[in-house]
Symmetry: C2
Subunit: 333 residues, 2 copies
Amino acid sequence: MAAPRMGLRARLYAPEADPPAAHVAPVTRGAWDDADALAAFAASVDVVTLEFENVPLGAVETLAPLVPVRPGARALAVAQDRLTEKRFLNEAGARTAPFAPVEDAASLGAALAALGLPAILKTRRLGYDGKGQARLNSAADAPAALAAMGGAPAILEGFAPFAREVSVVIARGADGATRAYDPGENVHRDGILRTTTVPAALDADAAARAVAVATRIVDALGYVGVLGVELFHMPDGAFWVNEIAPRVHNTGHWTINACAVDQFEQHLRAVCGWPLGDPRRHCDAVMENLIGDDDAAWPRLAAEPGAALHLYGKAGARPGRKMGHVTRTTPRR
Amino acid sequence: MAAPRMGLRARLYAPEADPPAAHVAPVTRGAWDDADALAAFAASVDVVTLEFENVPLGAVETLAPLVPVRPGARALAVAQDRLTEKRFLNEAGARTAPFAPVEDAASLGAALAALGLPAILKTRRLGYDGKGQARLNSAADAPAALAAMGGAPAILEGFAPFAREVSVVIARGADGATRAYDPGENVHRDGILRTTTVPAALDADAAARAVAVATRIVDALGYVGVLGVELFHMPDGAFWVNEIAPRVHNTGHWTINACAVDQFEQHLRAVCGWPLGDPRRHCDAVMENLIGDDDAAWPRLAAEPGAALHLYGKAGARPGRKMGHVTRTTPRR
């Protein structure tokens, strides 16, 4: 939806019969492992980017010799595996919660001994919005938590007694330039983002340190595009990275209404080699996700003064499904 | 482009092989007088609106019994003919420049005698951006001006020695509710809009009177949708209506970046029976059109802090062709 505003034409590649974005751009349907379909798609475009981080790495590796793919295989590989991601982050000088790999009861026992309680067991791959996670409050929770992983490789993460959760949505261009939006402060409920408030309750020094962490990450990845960095602001003032997402990020949706160049355009600018846009916000903003049947309130939200309503047009509401969001802007304080 | 953000699906009807909007929504190709194609299109949608005012009236009359068409035939008929429009405006209590119909040399002579000089001769139909217009500074200009009309019915308009040009972009819902954006102040060059600045240099009373003129017009038309009203602010403080456009308006493009609900969404809200959105601006704004090869400056504009760049992706620049626009927002004064 950002592309036509920039005079760019988008094409999509998707394995689904009717992906949501089919309403705004033409779709090439193909499997992730269909090398011929991928090659034909590559020949039809100037540059490829990814809408979500779980595109199979093999598809990106098939495309990469044929057309620039931004972000590339490295960022994807890091973001697809929580263990690889944590190790990468620590090597890049970014702090994280303590962690240990878990493959069975024995390694879980060792991990619990090392990290203490409470702790969270997560599948290494394919988890989001609290799915594929189990919290351990006592050693007795271990068998059920392990069973919840369904035999998949996992990672135990130590508890992070954070003061607040913030995120930095940052762009890096092919030339290495970076631009970060102001950090947003996030509130989750039931493992799902409910609100992002900008500015976060951070002083200027803390905000700058949060951006510095994000910058370190995109530089270490040689990243091109927009990347979301979720951070725990710890009571001692340090920032721990919770996770990174190699794409536009739900916590950056407020930029649609509060910045001259929003995160979607910024991502395309980076991917297409345009100058990165000014990330300054002209308003303060609170973004609220509409989850499950929250969107039934749309007539009230549509009539609310100052509220910008975004509905995704998904076919049906399910508990926990993100159906839209509303952003309320106010003059900068 | 506003529809998918609202969870709405747009379909287009167009006679051209490759209309610009084909990049963002599926197109039914059909002639304006193809009743079968129009009926099939009507059956595929819930409501019809119009992108520009020169859709042949017959097409709207074919559609209207089959599906709601907003705005409808009356607004279109009024806006397609400058003479009908002026008469409607005066009957609705809105002032205009003095005018007289012109069909030949005799009626032009009579009109000049009545209105005086300078004056502007315009075709009654299908003129925009200064096309189909000829200025008369002396009686000697009459034959050339008449020849420039190419035999088409015309209207002579008396000169309006305005202090400034402003416009009001106003929405009216099917329930009769109206919402107007703050008046913008327009600068034209060579008959083409160059910039719109918001707020206009009007005091609160004058701004309210400008909005009142626009409200009177949409009420008199029983209008549903967004309508642009171009006004001359006269030295005595009165507003004369220059012209009306039954659609989103170039002078309302600033709302994309300065309002929670922009004119495009507002138009769809009215057409679809949603509550009208809050028209208040959260920023001041200057919108500048990129005309002809102005868009060659895009790399500089893309890098300009605070500038929101919109490129239309048109295939080729021609002198006078609108290729995009840039909106610069600043905190409200």
